[in-house]
Symmetry: C2
Subunit: 425 residues, 2 copies
């Protein structure tokens, strides 16, 4: 089906749906609206905004969201970390649609605060097991061939509080440690080839310039595959909190490895076993043994609306269910939605074909008659992997883990349209 | 070639290129950087930003660009229109990369200022030659099946000042009446089918809620094809200056038809012949006769860097030439770049395969030895159409036009790296 056929199919399906809804006595959006036409002063009278001037172009050299959307912002959870300089700002995914995350409200996490680093003060060192150690200025990086890719970044701890059961009442907090942007940069491979990797170089250690010296090891195969040294996101410079002027993109792998304010890349024989890959970012199992090197973010999805922060306010009838799906191992090939807590499933519609290691938007259009629902989504990727339930994950990994919870999320939608984070057994 | 092969090819080509450059005595980025390593205090000393705390997450509920990027903003040209409430804010395309335009710096034009219209005050009327006139609230629109598409919007007047020769020294002003965003909304077809278009309905008239009542006619075939009634751009609500809460997207067609603050859609037998499609948005030819209904934005491209606002500052050696290409008739299939004012051409690399009616980013990596260049780009789309020269356009249309100048742009790059807007005969 090409794009035009898909749009037509959507439109025709809807028409059939509204007819069916009307026949069943549902309040079709169209029929309800038609009644409003006769008496609504917003239609029959000339409104103030049609009688005067609005803002001139000089008012907005760089525009911000309109005041009425002031609740669509990042939020942190006070008790989650010891201090705001080592905390987490969650994306308001409940209020967004499509797949691109604007930088201004995109998830951020840092370990000693977002630093201010000028382009002219920026240096990137490549050293260790290389033929020629190199130091690049920002200007040097701009002279290498560039690539553009849209990738999701998900924190390994996303949904981590859900291991012990339904904890937080809002998808912004349960699944909002994620964003999806179009990155522009130079492949790390290009820079490593400039330096020349010695045969004994099997790993790289990547480190940031902030006081936390956040650093991670990765196998040389990944470093030479698809890792980007990025300086733009969604077309413009990285924002301060996203690592201005240069960050790493490690497609499909946990966000902690996407080093911000990237300072150095050391080619090594083995992993460094840094703080961030020993005491943190490992997964302690039921028997007390910890899994490590669990870099890849497995296939996952969540319904963003309706959800606890996005109750149904419009009453019975047509309802758009929507959400996001992604996989660190490839492209999402399908998403199923359940209205009954996983007893029965129906396929959702993907807004666009899934792209490797990028967010996919899905929709399911239903006729809601006020019945309670246990809403779930379940994604499948092109490796054939199917998103598991939380209990399936617990059966394998216990409940000691913080990271890599990609279990199916459940929203209990009540008759009044409100939704609550729950678990079904 | 899949994505991975393309990246590898880029990387290998570059390595060969740097070797060739080094052999020819060029300053390779790598070699220059290696020398810097020994003496640079930015490498050898612990810097202030690595010794203290940065901003906490509470500092940025909605982030703005860092202060060092304060010149990457929209700009207007004072003399272009009578007043800032009916003016144009150009996208800083010289400083952007990739394809997505952030809403905050995306081109805006309005005719009586950007108005403030709350979602709860929003109404959309569909009337005229329909079975059942309908009025939709914002909430109604949210209940119809949604689609997501990335489209460029280009003002018909983009590059209009170039008809009379090279006028303005900056790609922001010569080609910056354009943006490219991921839109989410309902197809106009869905809403028209709700109302039921009568057989005699052959056109629609679409109109905005601001005081200018900006309104345009379009054939019913386009209205039922790919037009979107959009409420999100790049995932979040439309900004005020982009038509909050609802605007029209008319893919591939001139920006003036993308009605902001969309108020009504009237199905008619013929075109309305409004002010905006008679005295404006028509193209007066050499003989005084005007073309009208010239809706489609033809295939076009421009080099964004180097350009007058983006001189070469790094001296001889590796240079990344980059730009944007697009077509209102389909997908860009190729872009050629000339360094000598159109005498010889070489194919540029597309960052991603061209998408229909969306911006395409292209790159050409060269070894610049300080020679003067007459830089040009020339795009081809999937209809086989090739972007013409300005003189080819003038031969057909004369110089009385304001709109639809998709001619090839020339930047004269001087030995000192500065660039100037010029014409070649």
């Amino acid at each position: 089906m090409d794009e035009k056929e898909r749009d037509s199919a959507v439109s025709l399906n809807r028409r059939n749906f509204l007819r069916a809804g009307a026949a069943a006595g549902a309040l079709a959006a169209g029929a309800g609206a038609a009644r409003a036409q006769e008496a609504d002063p917003l239609i029959t009278e000339v409104q103030p905004w049609a009688q005067g001037w609005g803002d001139g172009v000089d008012a907005n050299p760089y525009g911000m969201p309109i005041e009425f959307e002031s609740d669509v912002v990042r939020r942190n959870v006070g008790w989650l970390t010891a201090d705001v300089i080592s905390s987490i700002n969650f994306t308001p995914i409940h209020a967004l649609d499509g797949t691109i995350t604007p930088q201004g409200c995109a998830f951020e996490r840092h370990h000693s605060g977002a630093i201010e680093l000028r382009k002219e003060d920026y240096r990137l060192m490549i050293h260790g097991l290389v033929d020629q150690p190199l130091v690049f200025t920002y200007e040097d990086l701009e002279r290498f061939p560039r690539v553009n890719r849209t990738y999701f970044l998900e924190c390994a701890a996303n949904s981590g509080m859900e291991w012990a059961g339904a904890q937080l009442n809002g998808v912004q907090f349960t699944q909002g440690m994620i964003h999806n942007m179009e990155y522009t940069g130079v492949t790390l491979r290009t820079l490593l080839e400039e330096a020349g990797v010695k045969p004994e170089g099997k790993w790289v250690y990547v480190e940031g310039a902030d006081a936390s010296s956040n650093g991670r090891s990765m196998p040389i195969e990944k470093a030479l595959d698809d890792v980007l040294v990025a300086f733009k996101a969604n077309g413009e410079a990285l924002r301060k909190e996203h690592g201005y002027p240069v960050r790493l993109c490690v497609p499909g792998w946990e966000g902690n490895m996407w080093i911000k304010w990237l300072r150095r890349v050391e080619v090594t024989e083995g992993p460094v076993e840094s703080r961030e890959e020993t005491s943190k970012y490992t997964d302690t199992l039921e028997n007390g043994i910890s899994r490590k090197w669990t870099w890849v973010m497995d296939c996952k999805s969540v319904i963003t609306s309706p959800s606890p922060q996005m109750p149904i306010k419009h009453g019975k009838g047509p309802l758009v269910i929507t959400g996001l799906a992604w996989s660190g191992r490839g492209a999402v090939t399908g998403v199923d939605v359940s209205l009954d807590g996983g007893k029965t499933w129906q396929p959702a519609r993907l807004a666009q074909p899934g792209q490797a290691m990028a967010l996919t938007r899905f929709y399911l259009d239903i006729d809601w008659q006020g019945e309670e629902m246990l809403l779930q989504s379940r994604a499948t990727d092109d490796t054939g992997y199917v998103q598991p339930t939380k209990n399936q994950l617990r059966a394998v990994r216990g409940e000691n883990s913080v990271y890599h919870n990609n279990g199916i999320q459940t929203w209990w939608v009540k008759a009044n349209g409100e939704a609550e984070n729950v678990e079904v057994s």
